[in-house]
């Protein structure tokens, strides 16, 4: 199977970064691209959410949120098998892997567009409800009910990160405005989506490359976890999709979300609530290993497996 062109941009960034090319996309550009991506995804979901029966959606969202907790616990359990890894680090990494990566989700959406497979219109809401639960779990595993910086500031960090705010905001605006009144915004938020995703992935490639040196320092166990947990996460995602009766497209998205690890919400929240955890560990695993793996290998792999297995299991 050929690579989708957006993944080529990621490879370009990765290659350039590994060769230490004289190139940078300033942080301001990264922020701009992230904001547009988050809003685009939210708006697209919101526009179509208007036509969906909320009573059908809500139980599924609850199920997906529960999946976040399951993933976090699985990750924590596996990580505790390593003697050397302090408990705080295990909890922090588990929080990252139970939560999700919006960039990976966007790649999966682009992939589904390319292969021409539909998915549930409200899938962006999955991203929202998956962002938070595993992070709270990670904090509770270490702090019990007393995080280092106090619950109010932790809640603030968790629920008011730009991921949740912009996705949710985009969803709301999409619902309130509807497709016709959003039409004049399509050129920026919908038509340019794939180009902006390409630039974003170029930057993510550079970032992943800059973290690559840290992989060796953190040892084989972390590398193995960051490569293998996505397979488990994708499986769990696929199972939940099947139990919740999602379409094939929706199942791919949920599998990808299960496989992906957070690099926006989780790092900031864990730094403040469980400061004794080494932020380098989780960020290296998530950015330098899992993100590239999912973008290059994972998305087409999960799709390939799902097309074989999902219809057999009676999934739509």
């Amino acid at each position: 199977m050929q690579l989708d062109p957006v993944m080529l941009f990621f490879l370009l960034g990765l290659g350039a970064g590994l060769m230490r090319a004289q190139m940078r996309l300033p942080q301001a550009v990264y922020e701009l691209l992230t904001v547009i991506l988050l809003l685009s995804i939210g708006l697209k979901g919101g526009v179509e959410l208007a036509e969906v029966d909320l009573l059908q959606v809500l139980p599924r969202l609850l199920g997906v949120a529960f999946m976040g907790v399951v993933l976090g616990l699985l990750a924590f359990g596996l990580l505790r098998l390593s003697r050397g890894l302090p408990r705080a680090d295990a909890a922090s990494i588990a929080a990252h892997y139970g939560s999700v990566s919006v960039g990976t989700y966007a790649v999966a959406v682009a992939f589904l567009n390319t292969v021409g497979v539909d998915y549930e219109a409200y899938a962006p809401a999955f991203v929202v409800v998956l962002e938070v639960p595993a992070i709270l779990l990670g904090i509770i595993l270490i702090r019990g009910l007393r995080p280092a910086a106090g619950w109010s500031s932790v809640m603030h960090e968790v629920f008011l990160g730009k991921g949740v705010v912009l996705l949710l905001g985009g969803l709301l605006i999409g619902v309130l405005a509807g497709p016709e009144r959003l039409a004049p915004m399509e050129p920026l938020f919908f038509d340019a989506f794939k180009g902006i995703l390409a630039l974003f992935l170029l930057e993510m490639g550079l970032v992943a490359a800059s973290q690559a040196g840290a992989i060796r320092r953190h040892g084989l166990f972390l590398l193995g976890f960051a490569l293998l947990f996505p397979l488990l996460g994708a499986t769990v995602g696929g199972l939940f999709a099947w139990m919740l009766g999602l379409s094939l497209g929706g199942a791919l998205l949920l599998a990808v979300l299960g496989a992906s690890a957070s690099y926006i919400a989780a790092p900031a929240a864990m730094r403040l609530s469980v400061p004794e955890a080494n932020p380098g560990l989780s960020l290296t695993a998530s950015l330098a290993v899992t993100f590239p793996f999912n973008v290059i290998v994972g998305v087409p792999l999960y799709y390939g497996v799902l097309t074989l297995v999902y219809p057999l299991a009676g999934g739509v």
Partner: protein, 97 residues
């Protein structure tokens, strides 16, 4: 007239807490510049989400500077990237600080 200048170089994530601590100790102001660097806790640059370092300067009377130093030391030195130093400076309007 002489005052103390306390400089703290630390993780961006601590900004709010640092500012609160400076206010609580009774300092009348502070200045922040963005920074990056390297130390015991590895390289810290401002790319991407992590945020780099900030460099916070507080001009104040010596006891205030020492009390801020002590609080920061006790609260943050174990878990956070942080460097801290003191200098004497001559100010024009000592009543401001």
């Amino acid at each position: 007239m002489k005052r103390m200048m306390l400089t703290v170089i630390t993780e961006q994530a601590l900004e709010r807490q640092l500012v609160a601590c400076v206010r609580d100790a009774g300092a009348r102001g502070y200045t922040i510049t963005e920074a990056r660097g390297e130390g015991k806790r590895g390289l810290r640059s401002a790319d991407f989400e992590q945020g780099g370092n900030i460099r916070l300067e507080v001009i104040c009377e010596e006891p205030v500077a020492r009390s801020i130093s002590r609080v920061l030391h006790d609260r943050y030195f174990t878990d956070f990237a942080m460097v801290l130093f003191l200098q004497e400076v001559e100010v024009l309007r000592p009543d401001k600080f």
